[in-house]
Structure formats: C-alpha cells, structure tokens
C-alpha cells in the first residue's frame, strides 16, 4: 500500500473537471438505476462511447460514478413502486415497498441511501487496501466452489418465502424449471425453446423481473384504483434517524462484508449479494416476524450489500483482469478503449491509474450521498401521484424497459406473460422473489455442477473434494435448518400475537 501515491491520487480526483464528471455520472446513474429495464450494465455500456478521446481518469471516474449511482438508484423504484430498477434492487422490494405503503417512503429512501453509501464506501476501502489478498481467494474458486456458492444462495429462498415455506419452495422450483429453458451450458443443446431463437439464452431476465414485480402490481392496482386512498407521505429527512441507524449498524457492517466478498467472486454480482445479505439479516434478527412487513434493517441489508459489490467487483477486474460482474465486464471494455489492459500488468505499468480508480470510487460514493440526498424529496413525490396516473405510467415504462434491453418485441411479450403469472401468484399468496433468485442461481448451479463433472469424468465425489466448497455446502444446510426453525418461531409469535388481540 503506497499512501503517498493514494494521497496524490486524491489530488488528481479533486479537480473541477473530474469532480464534474463524477457528479454527472452519479446523476445519470441514479436516473438509469431508477428506471426499470435500464440497468447499471446498460448505463455503463451506453456511456462508454462518450468517453472516446477523453483522458483515462475522467472517463473512468464518470463510469465509476454511474456504477455507484445506478446501484443506489435501483432502490428508488423498488421502494416507491415495487419495481426493482436494477436486478440488484430486487431484495430491497421485500421491506422497502411495505414501508412506502405505510407512508414511510422517506424513511426507507433515506435508509437505502445511507446504507448504499456505507456499503459502497466499505467496498471501495476494502478494494483499496485488500485487493491482492481478496483476489487470491477468488482464484481458489473452481467450478465446484461456484456450484456450492449457488446452492448456498438458493438456501436463502426459505428466508424470503413469506408466510408459507412450502409456497416459497414451489415458487423457487418454478424458477429453477424456468432456468432450464435455453441452450444447455455444456452441450449447447437448445432445451424447451420450441424453435423460438429468442429463448436460446433462456427467458430474458430483465423482462421477467419487470413482469413479475411491476406489471403484476399494475394489474392488482387496476382492480382497486377507485378505492385506493392516496398514501400520505411525509418526507422531512435526508438522513435516517439515529434510532434507525442503531438498529441497522450491525446489519450494514455484515452486508458490506458479504457484498464486497460476493462482488469479488467473478460471475456473482449485486443481486446475489443483496439476497444473501437480506437472508442472513433475517436469520439472525431478534424479530424475524417483522420481516416482510417493513423492517428497516431489511432495506439496509440489501442496499449496503449491492453497493459494496461495486468495490468488490472491481477487485478481480483490476488485479486479475477478470470482471467481477456484468458491469465490470463492460468497464473492462472501457479500460481497453483507453489502451489499458486491467490485470497484473496494470499494477506493474500503470499503478497510478489503479490508485486513481481507488480514489475516484471513494469520491463517487460521497457524490452519491450528496446527490441522492438532494433528490430524495423529489423521488418521494412519485408515490403521491394518483394511482390512476402512476399505474399506466409504470406500464409504459415497463414496456419500454423490456424492449430496450435488446430491441426485441419478444421480450415485451415475455414481460406481459410474467405480469399475469405474477398477478395470480400474488393473489394466491405465493412469494415472487424466490423465482428471481432461482433464475439467477439456477444456471450458475447447473452449469458449474456439470462443468465439475466434465472435469472429474462423471465422478460426483469431486464436489466433496475441496474444503471451501464443503464449507459452503455445510453453511447452506445450516442456514436452511436455521431458517426453517426461525420460520416456526415466527409463526408461533404471530399466532400468539393474534391470539392476544382476539382476547
């Protein structure tokens, strides 16, 4: 660690032109993140051409600002209109939307921003000081460990099942079944696509997400538009209360570590990190029965983990030249455009650039805190819009967002189908998040299990041959048992509570 160089790098970042592009990146990022269908990945990809011919520091700072902003921006629509703006914000819906329904949108937004900031800053600091160490751990991950990690992630389904574990598992299995659609990861054989090439790479993820969450909510609202009383929301704060911070402090610390670490593992991103962090927080909480009805720690857990992921995902990109998630994969292209090849060589030849990236990611998090705080009052107004106007607007955004991903009308139909599926599932009290988690982790579990078996020549003992993998699998079983036990406790408490009310 070269502190003189780090100090010098901050000097490079604290110049008007760089500060300006960071602020610009963050503002665009928050907007893109908040719009369903426009993800951080797409935002960075769209902005990369704008950086042609700009100096490396300015271009990379702008993209890093956008990355940060978008990770937070996703929570805005998740909280206000139950539509995760980015897949990484899907776990934020679980607690954020109930809070908004109770007129506490401002409180949830302030916490989301604060947790995003804490997570993002922790991720950036861990990246700055521990990159070489963490990337060497990430390299230990072979196909077997990826499989075990995916199984561990799937065990979170029980935590996000809501009232009935059985229905949660059914939703999860439905998701796993959907994830088998598309080209087989090992043989390339197209499965269940019925000649429809649009399904070759599986059901398109973003349209599925938008359909399940946004469109189903629009459909549900249409039936009751006239009865809905407008949610009275008082937005009088930019910062969470001291009490909220105290409740969430441990959660934020844990979420930051989980997020940074999961981010650092190539191929695992903010969406997985947020769900795992949420699941862990609920599991260790003293009041797990509050989860699902608007527990502020739940928002903190998800948001700090997905922002910590940004710093985490930069670790393997910079030190190994391997992107940690989809956004950093596009960032890799931006580096290449600048004539820089991330990886071991970057550390040798352009250590100044590496430190500039450290400095600008740290600064970008502060910019996100300031710009986000200025925006909260504005964002929260969305929820005060009449439902009769808001719902059609969400539907339009959903259509545009689904289409925009790859310019394909097929995706719009996928979104509509999942809107209807989501509507009926909700009506019958099936949780939606397990489907999403299964769609993210199913392919990861399947492909890596099969890859392991290709390597071992079909011998299943390979799965138990590596300590990290065995550790993760034991964790998965442990967390499963704990969650089921927890669920019983919740049911008992809820029963006791309603019994008391009855008397």
């Amino acid at each position: 660690m070269d502190f003189a160089l780090l100090y010098h790098s901050f000097g490079n970042v604290f110049v008007p032109s760089v500060m300006l592009v960071i602020a610009f990146g963050v503002a665009i990022g928050i907007t893109i993140g908040a719009l369903p269908g426009l993800t951080a990945t797409m935002g960075v990809a769209l902005l990369v051409p704008l950086t042609f011919g700009r100096p490396p520091l300015e271009s990379l700072s702008m993209l890093l600002g956008l990355f940060c902003g978008a990770m937070y921006g996703g929570s805005i629509s998740a909280i206000l209109v139950r539509t995760p703006g980015t897949p990484a914000a899907a776990a934020t819906v679980l607690e954020g939307y109930p809070l908004a329904q109770q007129g506490q949108a401002g409180r949830a937004l302030a916490m989301a921003l604060f947790a995003s900031f804490c997570g993002g800053l922790s991720g950036a600091l861990i990246m700055t000081f521990m990159s070489p160490l963490i990337s060497s751990v990430a390299l230990e991950f072979s196909t077997v460990e990826y499989f075990a990690l995916a199984v561990f992630g799937l065990s979170v389904i029980v935590s996000i099942s809501g009232n009935s574990i059985l229905k949660g598992i059914m939703a999860g299995l439905f998701g796993l079944l959907l994830s088998t659609i598309g080209a087989d990861a090992i043989s390339g054989y197209p499965r269940f696509i019925f000649g429809q090439m649009d399904l070759f790479e599986g059901p398109p993820f973003i349209p599925t997400l938008i359909g399940l969450f946004a469109v189903s909510e629009v459909l549900a609202n249409v039936q009751i538009t006239k009865q809905i009383v407008r949610v009275k929301t008082v937005v009088d704060r930019y910062f969470p209360t001291w009490a909220d911070i105290k409740i969430s402090a441990v959660t934020i610390a844990r979420g930051s570590l989980i997020g940074t670490f999961i981010g650092a593992i190539p191929g695992a991103g903010g969406d997985i990190a947020a769900f795992v962090s949420y699941g862990e927080t609920k599991r260790v909480s003293k009041h797990p029965e509050k989860f699902g009805t608007g527990a502020i720690e739940g928002v903190a857990a998800a948001e700090c983990a997905n922002n910590a992921c940004s710093g985490g995902a930069m670790i393997p990109l910079l030190s190994l030249g391997v992107p940690g998630d989809a956004v950093t994969a596009v960032l890799l292209g931006a580096f290449v455009l600048q004539g820089l090849q991330p990886g071991p060589l970057l550390y040798k030849e352009h250590i100044d650039i590496v430190y500039n990236v450290f400095a600008s990611l740290i600064v970008a998090n502060f910019a996100m805190l300031i710009i986000g705080a200025l925006g909260i009052r504005l964002f929260a107004k969305v929820i005060m819009v009449k439902r009769a106007i808001l719902m059609p607007a969400i539907l339009v955004l959903s259509v545009v967002g689904s289409y925009a991903m790859r310019g394909d009308t097929f995706d719009v139909y996928v979104m509509l189908v999942f809107g209807v599926v989501g509507y009926f599932m909700q009506k019958h009290d099936f949780p939606l998040s397990p489907i999403l988690l299964a769609l993210i982790l199913g392919p990861m579990a399947e492909a890596n299990l099969r890859r392991s078996l290709v390597i071992s020549g079909g011998d299943f003992s390979i799965i138990f041959s590596r300590p990290i993998a065995v550790g993760l699998l034991i964790l998965a079983v442990g967390s499963l048992i704990a969650s089921v036990y927890n669920h019983r406790k919740i049911q008992n408490r809820l029963a006791a509570a309603s019994g008391l009310e009855g008397e």
Binding site: F52, I186, G188, M197, G321, Q341, G343, P344, L346
Partner: protein, 321 residues
Amino acid sequence: MKRRSVLVGLGAAALIGAVPFSASAAEWPAKPITMICPWSAGGGTDLLLRKLAASLAKETKQTVVVSNNTGGGGAIGHAAIMRAPADGYTIGMITFELNSLPPQGLIPFTWKDFDPIMRINVDAPALTVKADSPMKNLKDFADYAKAHPDDVTIGNSGPGSVWHIAAAMMADELGIKAKYVPFDGAAPAVTALVGGHLTAVSVSVAEVRSQVAGGNLKMLGVMGETRSDLFPDVPTFSEQGVKATFGTWRGIALPKGVPAETRAKIAKALKAAYDDPEFQEFAKNAGLALAYQNDKDFTAFLDKNANDVHRVMLSLGLAKK
C-alpha cells in the same frame, strides 16, 4: 398545447419514416446509417464496431447508429441483418458464429444469404497453460496428455463456440484425448486456468494477453498463419510441425440486393473508415489482429471457413448433419 406539439412531431416522424426512400445511389449516404451488432453493448465486437462506426460517420458526414440485436448466440442479430431493407442504410457486422450456427441446425440460413463487404480481423487461438507448468511446447503438451489421458482439461468459451472447435482441432492434430470444459465466455475459463483448475485453455491471444504479460500464464503455440504481433516470441502450430490454422473472424456484410453502385460506395467508405488512424490505433490497443480482405477474398474465405468448421463440428458431434 405542448402535448399536442409532441403528438404532431411523432406523427411527422412516423410519416417521414413511412415514405419510401427514393433518392438514387449517387446520393448515398443521404440519411443516417444503422449498423447492426449481433452481440451485446460493451463487449469486444460491440466496441470494435462502435469505433468503426465513429470513423464511418467522420468519413460519410452522416450519423451512424449502432443497434445491438442480441440473443440466440448471435442468431438474432445475423437474422436482423439478413432481413434488413437492402437500401444501403443498414449495414451489419457478421462474426464467426454465422458459420458455426448452421451446422448445429440453429439458424436456417448461411453466409451465402449475405453480401460480404470486407473482413476486419482474424484472431487466432493459442494453447495456453500455467506459467509454472514444466511444458514448453506442443510436443511436451502432447506427451503429457498421452501419459495422463484422463487428466487433461481444456477450457473454452462455450459449447459449440469458436474456441471449443479450436480445442477439438488442436487435440485432433496432436493426436491426444482431452476433456473440453465450456465456460460462459472466455474470461471465466482464463480465470479458472490462472487458479489452477484446468490444464489449458484454447481461447484467443487477446483474451490471455494480460495474464501472459503478467507472468501468470504462458502460450505453447499460436494457431494462426503467422505469429502474433503481441507475442512475436511464441511460435505458431505449423512451426512446431502441427499443420493447423484456425481463428475467429469479424467482417461487414449487407443484406442481399443492395444496388451495385451503392454497394461500391459503401465498400469504399468502409475501407476508408478501416484505414482511419484512430480505428487502427484502437484495434492495436485492444490486441486485435486486423486482417482486411476485400469482398472477393472475404467471400472465398467464408466459403472455406464454413466447410472447415462444419467438418470439425461433425467430428465433435456438435453438428446435426
């Protein structure tokens, strides 16, 4: 009032779009040009095309829009190029997959349904192993593989992908048996090799470049016709007595039926964009091996490449017929 003017504007835009374009070829380009990329925004192909599009815009003084029509492992984008109006205002980037999808029965068309304009680059794969491996050349690798027939794993970028085919060709030529491990793209395969979870990878020189330069990996041989400009010390396969060359390629094609006069103008403008120093410098920085061919040579190349690919895929059991 404001709302109405927006509506009027939209209506006008729709009308302009609907009027058939009647200007003669002499005027090309008289309106913005769209370039179709079958791969997603931000990837290697996309960046290359965007850079070429920027140079083309400079050359033609017209707006050039890149549209990413992705999905189906390239099938969607290639189909979009083929079905685009043949007015010279939609130009497509075609890639290697145009020759590997048809044998798998995944697309009902071939390169013959396109009008090839120019080849841009050909990137050769390399057989790459860990830097601390005792193997020094292809012969060492073959000897090792023969001594450990069940242990050799070669990572590639996906089932039926260009580097999967490359690995099969390598193994075939070296007379060895190996397990092909497909990953979701080249990067995770390279990472797995760096972590010591594979014996080798068969991806392109550009994709292992940073790890080779950083001292984590080393290349035993390059499968190109000539040595790589990036690593002139690494011998080719042919130099080591293994007569096999292979590579992925990218090029530009039009939908069939563009008038000859317009077509000639497009080809000229694209060549000028290709020669733009900015484009050349970008390709050099990205480690891409530029390999220009005009339409005639590119057509002959496509024909041979399609046959080669089909043959190897048949032997791999990846081709349907």
